[in-house]
């Protein structure tokens, strides 16, 4: 067997036999499934408990307080008569808060106070704000004293809940256009992008750690008298890559299996649509389409193929940088500074990934999905939105060319770095090593 092969075999065997490998391999998909299932479960269960708000309404005839509607988020308790604020503060300590509505609320809509006994909650504030706004708007319209006011108001009360989005996929039959969902795509993209981030960093760091360990324990001295530095570096990178690949394949099988069998089981039994319709504050029916996507096995399998390509390219690109740094320093502490520089494009990629939802085709997103430093994470987040194949292809070609270049540069640093002990090298040193004959 070639020396690279031997090193790959050793790295692989050492990692796969560790307990931590088995634990993380099994726990990660559980975690991901929990991430997918929990939102649905939360929707069925209705989320957090209802907050009790005591209302002191000083408006004429308490017209605001009387019209506040209690719901799942907030339940209102209107105090009759003129309770003073200080009394109420003493008496209702166990409630979530006290809402004080000013006397002249119709003309001065800012005259509202919410005194909290508990941490503030955006959803409660929003609920109160919306309700009061609607009450005040109705009252003000009523002041106009039009005929059929109630009729007009009821008629004007219209809501657009969701738009059905379809993908123009060149099918002649309009019915065959694929339904898409921005929320579902974004969620999927987020999961994929985070997965890539996780793999690049976690496994990249393993390469770094592995080289530093070997340098510290001086096994490196024995190794470099048995093989070339390049063989050693590639053996390590590929060995860890094989571990990563194995782990991802296991996850793919587990997740696809779970999607095909477990998800329907969780969802089955209850009538999903009815349950969703019944639940209060359902975001939109897109959730249904998302659930549909996750249970589509062939879609998932295709996605995993793209995922695997980006993982391979992205990992080898980052891992060779990590290997070069590991070879140049003596301790993990010394590696921290260089590590920070590697993390920068990754952080940029994460930030860009978040903006993919607004526009998966903006210039920023497009270029970041082409530049190899950010492309694995950003492109993976874009793919669920339906990206033209040529873009994915170009991005992959750029990534793989860059990976070869990066390996070349890293190997040149590595071949000098592994023999260096003592002083932490500067960027200038690294540059000199690359140029060294």
């Amino acid at each position: 067997m070639s020396k690279i092969g031997l090193i790959i075999e050793r790295e692989f065997a050492e990692r796969v036999r560790k307990k931590s490998f088995i634990v993380s391999t099994l726990l990660t998909p559980l975690f991901m499934i929990a991430m997918m299932v929990l939102p649905s479960v939360m929707m069925f269960k209705g989320g957090s408990s209802t907050k009790n708000v005591v209302v002191i309404d000083n408006s004429p005839e308490q017209f605001v307080g009387r019209k506040l509607v209690s719901g799942k988020t907030v339940s209102f308790n209107l105090l009759e008569g003129n309770e003073s604020i200080s009394n109420a503060r003493m008496m209702y300590k166990n409630d979530y808060g006290i809402l004080v509505i000013g006397q002249n609320i119709l003309d001065n809509p800012q005259d509202i106070q919410l005194i909290l006994n508990d941490a503030s909650s955006m959803s409660v504030e929003e609920n109160i704000q919306n309700q009061i706004q609607s009450i005040l708007r109705t009252e003000r319209l009523k002041r106009c004293d039009l005929e059929n006011m109630d009729q007009i108001l009821a008629d004007a009360n219209v809501r657009v809940n969701s738009i059905q989005t379809l993908k123009n996929n060149d099918q002649e039959d309009d019915e065959k256009m694929e339904k898409t969902s921005t929320t579902a795509s974004w969620l999927m993209g987020l999961i994929l992008g985070m997965m890539l981030y996780f793999i690049l960093i976690v496994y990249g760091q393993q390469v770094l750690q592995s080289v530093i360990d070997e340098k510290q324990t001086r096994v490196l001295d024995v190794m470099v008298t048995s093989c070339t530095p390049f063989e050693l570096m590639m053996g390590k990178i590929l060995g860890i890559a094989v571990v990563a690949a194995l782990q991802i394949v296991i996850w793919a099988v587990l997740i696809i299996g779970a999607s095909a069998f477990v998800m329907p089981l969780v969802m089955g039994g209850t009538d999903v649509e009815a349950a969703l319709a019944a639940a209060q504050n359902v975001p939109d029916p897109e959730v249904l389409s998302m659930v549909g996507k996750f249970t589509n096995v062939s879609y998932l399998a295709g996605l995993f193929l793209e995922l695997l390509l980006y993982i391979v390219g992205g990992f080898l690109f980052y891992a060779s940088m990590y290997a070069a740094i590991g070879s140049a320093v003596d301790t993990p502490q010394d590696a921290a500074q260089f590590n920070g520089i590697i993390m920068m494009p990754v952080i940029v990629a994460i930030m860009v990934m978040m903006s993919v939802m607004n526009d998966p085709n903006s210039d920023l997103v497009f270029w970041c999905s082409m530049i190899p430093f950010t492309s694995p994470i950003v492109m993976m987040a874009r793919i669920p939105f339906g990206i033209p194949t040529w873009q994915v292809a170009v991005s992959l070609v750029v990534l793989f060319i860059s990976f070869f270049l990066m390996v070349w540069v890293a190997a040149r640093i590595f071949r000098v770095g592994v023999f260096m002990h003592g002083k932490k090298p500067t960027w200038k040193d690294l540059g000199a090593w690359i140029k060294m004959k």
């Binding site: 050793r10 050492e14 001295d221 008298t225």
Partner: protein, 308 residues
């Protein structure tokens, strides 16, 4: 004798520190060669130069008549002073891995390693992890991984450090055995006792210079400089009369042991030794006559202090 390794005018300077200054030496094939010197003298740097781990500023290294290549280095068995093994790996598996890295087949490696493990009493530890071994046992494992592929040239950096006398002796016997089977051994050390016992030739490096080279016997004899210790009974006058003209007394008589006087003498010429013994035998009652050969330890200290 043909040399297996030849080092020619090698110099190496690190920032502001000259680690090797024009060092040359030749290592005869089939010998055990001691590379001696105080800490920081440049021994390890020299070994790293031979192993291509450090690039010299100038000078060349020849292996079997050609300039040394990367392929040659993979044929050298090198045991670094700071021992390195994968801690989490099982002992036997690790040894097999290193053997295969040096080009052995799996079957062959397993067979040879079993022999070695058996001989050094490690066989029960085959399936244990390296981190469970004692320091001495880990050293033995490292030794085995260095020699198992039967390299022509072996380089040991301080091979006996960390060993108890019994295991150090065991290792010594193994090194001699390797030499007898045709290997050339270089070892770097400052343990002079082991040098006397097993080295055929040495080079002494001090402050990055080669200050003394040659065969151990020759160096010791030379350093001794025809000094002898005589044990006799008789008068001082008779003793002086017997040696006059051929030898000088060194210092005063060194006291009396069991009725015999002890006296160190220096004989000017090798040819006079027999005569001096003859005339002493006539004049006094000679008990013993013995050449004083300095220990390598003495030679080392004197050479380093410049008083040799």
């Amino acid at each position: 004798m043909e040399s297996i390794l030849k080092i020619e005018h090698v110099s190496k300077t690190y920032t502001g520190h000259r680690a090797l200054d024009d060092v040359s030496m030749e290592i005869p094939r089939g010998s055990i060669y001691g590379l001696l010197g105080p800490n920081g003298a440049g021994k390890t740097t020299l070994i790293r130069v031979v192993n291509h781990m450090t690039i010299p500023d100038c000078g060349k290294v020849w292996f079997e008549g050609h300039e040394i290549t990367a392929e040659d280095i993979y044929q050298i068995g090198y045991m670094p002073e700071e021992r390195g093994l994968y801690k989490k790996m099982k002992v036997g598996e690790q040894a097999v891995f290193f053997a295969r890295m040096r080009g052995m087949g799996r079957q062959q490696a397993v067979r040879k390693l079993h022999e070695w493990f058996d001989r050094l009493g490690l066989i029960d530890w085959w399936d244990k992890k390296v981190e469970d071994l004692s320091k001495g046992m880990a050293q033995k494992v490292q030794f085995i991984t260095t020699v198992v592929h039967e390299p022509k040239l072996l380089i040991f950096d301080e091979p006996f450090s960390g060993f108890d006398p019994i295991n150090a002796n065991l290792l010594k016997q193994e090194i001699l055995g390797l030499r007898d089977r045709g290997a050339t051994v270089i070892f770097s050390t400052h343990n002079m006792e082991s040098v006397e016992e097993i080295c055929d030739d040495i080079t002494l490096i001090n402050k990055s210079h080669n200050i003394l080279s040659g065969s151990v016997d020759e160096i010791r004899r030379k350093a001794g400089g025809n000094t002898f210790l005589v044990l006799y009974s008789g008068t001082n006058q008779d003793f002086c009369a017997a040696v006059t003209g051929k030898a000088n007394l060194i210092g005063q008589s060194e006291g009396v042991i069991g009725g015999y006087t002890q006296q160190k003498i220096h004989i000017q010429s090798d040819d006079d030794v027999r005569e001096v013994i003859g005339s002493l035998n006539d004049k006094v009652k000679l008990r013993s006559f013995q050449e004083i050969i300095p220990s390598m330890n003495d030679i080392f200290i004197r050479a380093v202090n410049g008083t040799l």
